[in-house]
Symmetry: C2
DNA sequence: GTTTGATGTTGACGGGATACACATGAGCCT
DNA sequence: AGGCTCATGTGTATCCCGTCAACATCAAAC
């Protein structure tokens, strides 16, 4: 019934050695190229040169694998936000850079951005690290420390700023029937209005 | 090879009579109940009491059917926005009501909201009618006519207001890792900040 | 009353997710 | 050394889904 000798074909070893990481890597590559469309178990397994069932030794289900890739995408976004922050000192410039990078990510990496916020059956096992939410929250905390935002309003300000960049990125990224005009000036205008809403609300 | 006499089983007639509309109706019901997860050709066909292939007489592909249901969901959103506007006279109250209803839709109908903005291979054949975008645009146009917004800024203001409500609804609806706290006061605070950003920008 | 075209049905094929049984091989125990 | 064990892969089978080609039904046009 079963063949006595397995043909290893073009594989060097029977065991892959680092399948989990390899799956996440090709998953990110596919996500970058085509969003959530090619993140199936069979397809990713084929990319890595492994049988579909091998995937289940590392992820309980295809949905879990997708959730893990989604988390990787969110962490990539967060990493880029951190990078954009690195060279800014002024709190306003930090705040603006954070939002600008968030939007830029949505525009330049629509595939990753879509996957980052895909609605998934499975939840990630660990917290995002780095976390885009935490980064934005810290930026607003800085504004509190500078006296530009009342500590009592920290949460509502964070909601506000977050909603703006996330909403714009969502609408501008991918194939949306409500896609807005996109230009650097449109984005800067949006960020300026955001700054106004954040700092001038309770005068 | 093929049976000479078809058993009609529990069907009254061989032809359904209104299959296209029926598919959209059950599609909306399924979307309301579980988002995009049960919008497959086979499933919807079964719901309507018809063979999967019958669907293709009305929609070129399953993706097209999904796009049609997505459009229905967007139009439902737009209809609710219009309803919320009906009893408001003041331009500010109209503006606020529009945004509030958008967010309320995201919170109360997460399934429909997700489907409304699903990333779909196929595009809708006709324009949305009514269109949520047009309704929001009109609300800002009113602000122009009242002198509260400069006509030259109409587009950027629309972008701004739209991004806020869409972003918040997206983050607050469904299973998002960045889901914010949700309460009426949080929403009113957001709308007030939006109003400020819309009207006070160019003073 | 026949023809015809719109609308449904069957059956088949290809592909995806995943359950179960089996294979491989590196490291540990004796 | 020689063998046991367990994590990790493979093979096969099953079920479901989307879709094609061929055939069936029926109402309306002629």
């Amino acid at each position: 019934m079963y063949p006595v000798n397995i043909k290893l074909m073009n594989k060097k070893t029977y065991h892959h050695g680092n399948l989990e990481e390899a799956l996440l890597t090709v998953g990110m590559k596919e996500a970058k190229a085509s969003g959530f469309r090619n993140l199936g178990v069979t397809h990713l397994a084929k990319m890595v040169g492994v049988t579909p069932m091998a995937v289940y030794r590392h992820f309980p289900s295809g949905e879990n694998l997708k959730a893990a890739i989604s988390q990787q995408a969110r962490e990539e976004l967060a990493r880029r936000m951190l990078e954009a922050l690195e060279n800014e000192e002024d709190v306003k410039r930090k705040f603006m850079a954070t939002g600008r990078e968030y939007i830029r990510f949505g525009l330049e990496e629509p595939g990753l951005f879509a996957v980052a916020f895909i609605d998934c059956d499975a939840s990630p096992q660990r917290e995002d690290n780095p976390s885009a939410r935490a980064i934005l929250h810290d930026a607003i905390l800085d504004l509190c420390n500078e006296g530009l935002v009342k500590p009592a309003e920290l949460e509502s300000v964070a909601n506000f700023a977050w909603s703006i960049v996330h909403g714009f990125a969502m609408l501008a990224s991918g194939n949306n029937p409500f896609r807005p005009e996109i230009s650097p000036s449109v984005i800067e205008n949006l960020l300026e209005r955001s700054w106004l809403g954040v700092t001038q609300f309770s005068k």
